[in-house]
Symmetry: C2
Subunit: 579 residues, 2 copies
Amino acid sequence: MKVRNILGERFKERAFDIESQNLMTRGGYMKQVGNGIYSLFTPTKRIQNKIEAILREEMDAIDGQEVLFPVVMPATLWQSSGRFESIGQELLRFKDRSGADMVLGMTHEEAAVQMAMNVAGTYQKYPFMIYQIQTKFRDEPRARGGLIRVREFTMKDGYSFHTSQEDLERYYDRAFRAYERIYARAGVPEVLAVKSDSGMMGGKISHEFMLLCDIGEDSIVICPECGFRANMEACEAITENTADAELLPLEEVFTGEAKTIEEVAGMLHLTADKTCKAVVYQRNEDDSYVLVFCRGDRELNETKLTNYIKAKIHPAVDIENANLTAGNIGPVGLDAKATVLFDRSLVGATNLVCGANKEEYHLKGFNPARDLPEGTEFIDLTKAVEGGICPVCGKHTLTVRRGIEVGNIFQLGKRYTEAMGMTYDSETGERRNPIMGCYGIGVGRLIASVCEAHHDDYGPIWPITIAPWQVEICALRINDETVKAAADKLYADLEKAGAEVLYDDRPVSAGVMFSDADLLSAPVRVVISPKTLARGCVELVARDKSFTVDASVENAAEAVMEKIRIMTEAVLAKVPERK
Amino acid sequence: MKVRNILGERFKERAFDIESQNLMTRGGYMKQVGNGIYSLFTPTKRIQNKIEAILREEMDAIDGQEVLFPVVMPATLWQSSGRFESIGQELLRFKDRSGADMVLGMTHEEAAVQMAMNVAGTYQKYPFMIYQIQTKFRDEPRARGGLIRVREFTMKDGYSFHTSQEDLERYYDRAFRAYERIYARAGVPEVLAVKSDSGMMGGKISHEFMLLCDIGEDSIVICPECGFRANMEACEAITENTADAELLPLEEVFTGEAKTIEEVAGMLHLTADKTCKAVVYQRNEDDSYVLVFCRGDRELNETKLTNYIKAKIHPAVDIENANLTAGNIGPVGLDAKATVLFDRSLVGATNLVCGANKEEYHLKGFNPARDLPEGTEFIDLTKAVEGGICPVCGKHTLTVRRGIEVGNIFQLGKRYTEAMGMTYDSETGERRNPIMGCYGIGVGRLIASVCEAHHDDYGPIWPITIAPWQVEICALRINDETVKAAADKLYADLEKAGAEVLYDDRPVSAGVMFSDADLLSAPVRVVISPKTLARGCVELVARDKSFTVDASVENAAEAVMEKIRIMTEAVLAKVPERK
């Protein structure tokens, strides 16, 4: 294809702060149609087609069957799982011309169960996996970052069905490996799998696949020592307390206007880990209060709290209604109208300062083991911290990084098959609900994330396996007949050899031509100019700067094909074996 | 793939009247999710992927650039073309979480203009064509026939942009040929292009591609003599009248309760062609009346009338409000509050009977040329008829057939670029609106139509170029070790040779196995049984019954590959050259 014919304009001015959005806008990859809604120009669509081909191959290799579910679904389908009611506004609801309630598919568990229901009624049909590559719509309140977080997107979503947890786990392992292969084939083998919280999907075990980069919305906890990885939301927090030799008695201390942990610790010349903090929430459903005590230097993990109390929450207001004294709440002598919980960070702590439940006063000498009622339960409700203890190897090695989620896999269990009444006859003749797994990858998000992780100041640096074109011919001074003849011939030769070729034969300056080539980002660039021809050569330049070499004019096509082969093999060398 | 692993059940009971819906339901190709909304099982998705690959190749070959537009669009985009208001309920409108008006894309002219706007500002960028393959939603009031008429469907839609009508026409010809190639490659070279009415798309010249079959919703007018073809909606109607030697005077005649043409002609012993009929409509916008006179044996073509008066219409009620006498309306002495139009079928007619505008009376001796005011315009407003005159060759050869529309192409002109203000700088420096063409094919509709046109009582007969699998191995008596060994080996050999293979190794009867194979419909079937092995052979059977031959066990894979090659070439032999 000729550069002059590509619809879409490239420009130099910085367009957005987030680099992938900036470069993909400047490169003519996409255009906004509405909030979080984009049209994709042909370079992006070409990347998308390549990723879709990888997805199909890897899903088929783990016995996936490609199917197609509808984008628009009747509300009754979502009512049958209970999610029509339980999911918020991100599920777009509307009425069709007959007045029937409909939804736009943001995920397709219900559709997968509806498809499999009645056609998988005996155990012999199991296991099976069905997947689709289809448009989804999620009415995100905060679309951002171009294709990073949108409302409409193309997604590969798969659903597996099993007759036992063991079978699901075996399959989950295969899917996990397929995901590793997908990212490696797409040129981002550095994608990390982390344990995650299952959220609204309603299962137990799940993993997110994360591409680390600073603009990521997720915090990832990593142990470089043993390889442990988890999303902050799901990471067990371990706190070590060293007991003081002597337990001090409880004693009131005047703290006046000091309310925050910082203020109180500062006034009493303590470090925050020698304090006990109170955090108050309210349940969304009835505004009832939830009060959590944790060590003063720890931060509450709202996901853990939500999962534990099985209710959605928001930070509390008007806490005097719960008989609480703002800034002076403490676990001793408490008479609160609230669910009171204690975090594990308090286990083994001694001689803490906590609120006295009295204006202007705190208590010194709070010793949880001594001062809390026998049988008090300590729950993991706080966040892991930088330098904290790894839950696997036990060393103080944890580090926290930012990441973009580029895929996820869930063990769903019977959540949907039970709710929707899907059953099969087991080998022993009983009616049972199948056990499900699900497997998602957002294609546009992956493209933007690859760009975020692989770019320079001048443009994306696409891995050759997903680059829109493998090679671009830059013909400098096209009005020079020898340049035109050599470039035309190389274009024809490369097309014939099966390469995906861009050809820039515009009469523009080298500056314009190269900056466009940086944005369109073919991994191999061939420069043909009077200067290179004078030495009987064309110049091969890697977009990732890994080489700049001459090739003879006669041998140019072969030299390019060889570079394409080598670069492709370098990507594929990092792809793990199938399981 | 093994038949036992395909999700979806096959059964024998007749499920629906329309044969494609019946067979594709019985064959486990699809499942209804809602009214006009289907999930597609893997056999259908495989067909769809093959058709999509053909579409991509043919669109790329006419310099199309694949892009992706959104399914969900802001209403403002459709307001900018005026179609948010002008299109009825089939455009699904809703509000997003922020209260903004949105629509579900039923076609993407606006999105195409929005994408091209500002990035094609000079004449050098033209022509170009962008296309997508994407989900569409059209809130059809009458979904029917399985995938024949649905609400949600996958469509290939392309949009070309030009700087002159000549350039559009040149490109339109190439697209036309690409469409012929697409249908031929999909195994239905019999698809007919017919001239069509442009309807809401708002252009002048357009063609529909029709697959003839009895369940079709369109009437197609064909001249077998000269090859003329048109949709009934757009077919010029030509009527020959032989003038009587003597023109009779106007004379009232008592007709009593006779009101219809049949009753009046019967009472007066005339044929219907010697009468003049009145048909009354009202404009939807203001209920004003439109009265059309035509020859009594002709039928009004509502599409032509709508196009002529540029207003939507409905059959009239309460015509006394227009000062009309039901059943006795005539063109002479008429004092109607209505737009009065005369059809071309009246030109040259003599001595007709028409209404006398008076209860219980008609007029004899109506001679349009004599009795209508000078300068009366006669317009083409009626339908062509079986045995009628071909507008091209002039012979009385027209025949009317039913057809399913499986694609369409339109010359849109400046309808959208003017409305939305898209311009470019011409070679002479003027701001101009580009001229557009558009090109659509519904993928699911095409699949169902191929099934409708190519099936027998036992299942679809898929052309080999789009069949979900090319070959199926039927291993009869799989418990026989020699059968299993031969079948397993052939399966492995064929997969290795690159064939798309189904393998039925279920321990089921020949009856069940063959009826399933008829429904899944691989073009080549290989039967392996103790009987065939006893003679050292496997049996190759064509799904279309074109052959039943033995092949030696050793040579089985080669024989199958040869049959696949021959059947594929037979399809491709009917594909016309590119233009």
